[in-house]
Point group: C2
């Protein structure tokens, strides 16, 4: 395919993409396929000879679309949103065309520099403390990671490296492995599975802290476990706080936890993967109070800030902490402007795409006000759903609705709720996933798609309510209705 | 921006991309900017109000392009290539539109399944042993990682987890930290910096093995160090072999190393990041002989197989080894088809894009023969450059030219070669980077761009030769010419 054919095919693809997104409501949100469906639809081997583009394109509807879960359908309420916008897609086209691998400043100065400035822009939108910004003289700054999982891992590894050096400075005879064997990290029992995994990868203990009735880790709980662990000869070194947990969008109390971490020389990392986008709104910014105590902070613009995946924004107060843990400089990466920082020292992969273009396009084409309006609209839709649930005596709200997630359930057994969720998902009209809160099986309704409107939320609720009525009716007929209803 | 405007702007962007690539030769391959150039060109903060698309687009040439190193220019000979093709860009547009996050089968069945099948297709193109393929019953299989760095880290962590379990099975009283403190991993002294970094992250010793005159690790060298390390009470557990090293595209002797690793229960991972693509050609496939001894194998289609970054292909013989090291399954990720594997258990990030679409488009639109022709063309161009260098008595070839990389130097001091490289890069006509081989400063000429033709290679050489003559003339005038010339 040459440039001339690309002009033609590219424009056809633009239309295909626009058609797909304009008509996404008409597609079934969750596919009907069974595991292994795809293998039988295509050959067992790559073709020897080139095929025509027409043949490839017609297979999109035949092979791919029947197996797609449509994350951008307004009937998709599962997990958390993944961001999606036209400006981000345009920027991604440009990113693909430039196709540079930004592993050093020299490998593409614009790639390194736009990223630094975009992270400053975004940090200012969030009103992050000055320490986290790079500016021209700052010691902090931001980097785009692929995912929050990577950000947590990087923070944990930097903290591990820092504590080892700190202890060895006083006790030069203590080996690194001996120190690591005594380290202990902490997170909420509501934290994402990737936090536990970071501990596993880093080869350190990871303790899950109990949460209060709001699913929030409080200072007293941390204080208690720190005392116990220090008494047992362990070395607390890392606390991963979550703002906006995956199960229920709960917030650890960082105004209590932060001062403890600072006093105890424990690295505090904040994972606000989903909730972070909301902090650009003044009314939600108080949820971030306490960030001034953190060593590193991360959230995913690729979740809720209209920047397509992947774009996970991470800031640190001291770049040197992270760079010191990872820097490697072979000769083939040396260049005349060696002192100019590049973010590849801050991450697991060496290569990196020109992802900041997406941020630049989105921030400019929406403007701060447009982004705030988008967040507010989603929160409003969640509140609307909450009101509908609360108006139905058969249901209860299982956690405070703070942002775009509503956790709710039948007032009844876990089995009943599991059955309801199964029926919802098997009906294929909308798509939800569950969570567990305080031993209870709970349904999560997350406002996800850019195109979700009030009518979709109303429709979703009347569908859920209808399925619930059907289920209860069946139970009445079988005389199995729980006493509580 | 709505779908209607996206139709218009998307088509304009397609034309911009086509124009950029059709005229890339006219752009200076390496930019003139100084560090910090970009910050002063754009505002200090994101705009409050939305800006027009015209304003954003005109900044591409004003702000971005002056700072871009043009990796796809036929005057770019630095590092290794990064792949780039029109079919891959079209697939990326589709990937962005679908915008699913494939962290489980249910999150988008097509995303999980196409990846599994594409890795089988690619494995068959390479004639990988059957053990590495997933098929419908296989215990092995492939996964797309972001970069080779991640693949190496994942392999090392899986090997670490496996050896710990193996030792604890016999010695239930030995702690994990005690075992880890005794572990030792190995790689070539020519291996990529990311291998050393994987050891750092995994918290294990990483020893660099000496190489022979061809920059290859041989079996005898490994045997020797294993004996010493076992005698010292260490536990060898991981060997990262490189096929196609970054400095000189050298090949570790895996037919010697593999049997040793197997006999000693050492996980052998093969990193063929650059060279791997060439193994689809029967004449280069012998370079992969010995892969049958490996536990895991990785190369980057995003380097040399026309699939845009990121797409690093990794295969393992036993999926369970990797999954066992990382698997986490919170309730919000459980679904009806839980038993259906997904690749998020094989990698650091949980989220994943629909990257296999790029492979599918590229493999079909080029066909195996088209891909082979592409590899052969690049190797031919490197051989052409080698011939030019060899015909000039002032220069020497520093390492065997096996694929698309030529390592060469002035017959003279390192300083002289450093000066020559500086002048080449400062002239801005072509772009090269150096490496160090056996203490010598060497220039690397890597055939990179899809559009590189014989005339570009000829032009590059006559330019280098001209700069060399100038430099030598100056030295003669200053009477500083080295005796050897």
């Amino acid at each position: 395919m040459d440039a001339a054919e690309f002009r033609r095919r590219g424009k056809e693809m633009v239309d295909y993409v626009a058609d797909y997104l304009e008509n996404i409501e008409k597609r079934q949100v969750y596919p009907d396929v069974e595991p292994g469906y795809l293998r039988s639809l295509i050959p067992e081997e790559a073709p020897e000879e080139a095929e025509s583009y027409e043949d490839v394109v017609k297979d999109i509807e035949r092979v791919i679309m029947p197996g797609v879960t449509h994350w951008h359908s307004p009937y998709f309420y599962a997990y958390f949103p993944t961001a999606h916008s036209f400006p981000a897609m345009l920027a991604d086209m440009l990113c693909g065309a430039i196709g540079c691998i930004g592993f050093s400043w020299a490998a593409s100065p614009a790639c390194t520099e736009l990223e630094t400035v975009m992270l400053d822009w975004l940090g200012k939108m969030l009103k992050l403390p000055e320490d986290f910004l790079a500016g021209t003289e700052g010691r902090g700054g931001g980097v785009i990671q692929g995912t929050a999982s990577e950000a947590t891992l990087i923070a944990l590894l930097a903290a591990r490296s820092k504590i080892v050096k700190l202890i060895q400075a006083d006790h030069p005879d203590r080996s690194e492995t001996d120190i690591i064997s005594k380290l202990v990290a902490y997170s909420s029992d509501q934290a994402h599975s990737s936090v536990e995994r970071a501990g596993l990868i880093g080869g350190v203990r990871m303790k899950k802290m109990p949460t209060d009735s709001k699913f929030s880790v409080r200072g007293a709980a941390l204080q208690k476990v720190l005392e116990e662990d220090r008494a047992a000869g362990l070395i607390p070194f890392f606390f991963c706080a979550t703002l906006g947990t995956t199960p229920s969008c709960a917030f650890d109390c960082i105004t209590e936890l932060g001062p403890i971490c600072n006093a105890e020389k424990i690295w505090m990392h904040i994972d606000a993967a989903y909730a972070g986008s909301a902090f650009i709104c003044p009314e939600f910014r108080p949820l971030l109070n306490g960030v001034e105590f953190a060593d590193s902070f991360n959230f995913n613009p690729h979740k809720w800030l209209l920047v397509n995946f992947d774009c996970s924004a991470m800031w640190v107060k001291k770049r040197s902490d992270i760079i010191g843990a990872f820097k490697m400089e072979p000769l083939y990466l040396k260049h005349d402007h060696q002192e100019s920082g590049n973010q590849s020292h801050w991450q697991i992969p060496l290569g990196r795409r020109f992802r900041s273009l997406k941020m630049w396009f989105v921030f400019r084409m929406y403007g701060l006000k447009g982004l705030q309006a988008y967040i507010r609209k989603h929160v409003g839709l969640a509140k609307e759903f909450e009101t509908l649930v609360r108006a139905d005596q058969r249901f209860e709200i299982s956690a405070d609705v703070v942002l775009g997630l509503v956790c709710f359930r039948f007032k009844g057994s876990n089995e009943l709720n599991e059955t309801l969720l199964k029926r919802i998902n098997r009906a294929r009209k909308i798509h939800l996933v569950p969570c567990q809160l305080a031993g209870k099986f709970v349904l999560r309704f997350a406002v996800c798609a850019r195109t979700t409107e009030s009518r979709h939320v109303q429709e979703a609720w009347s569908h859920i309510s209808h399925l619930a009525s059907e289920l209860l009716q069946e139970l009445v007929e079988k005389s199995e209705i729980p006493n509580s209803l």
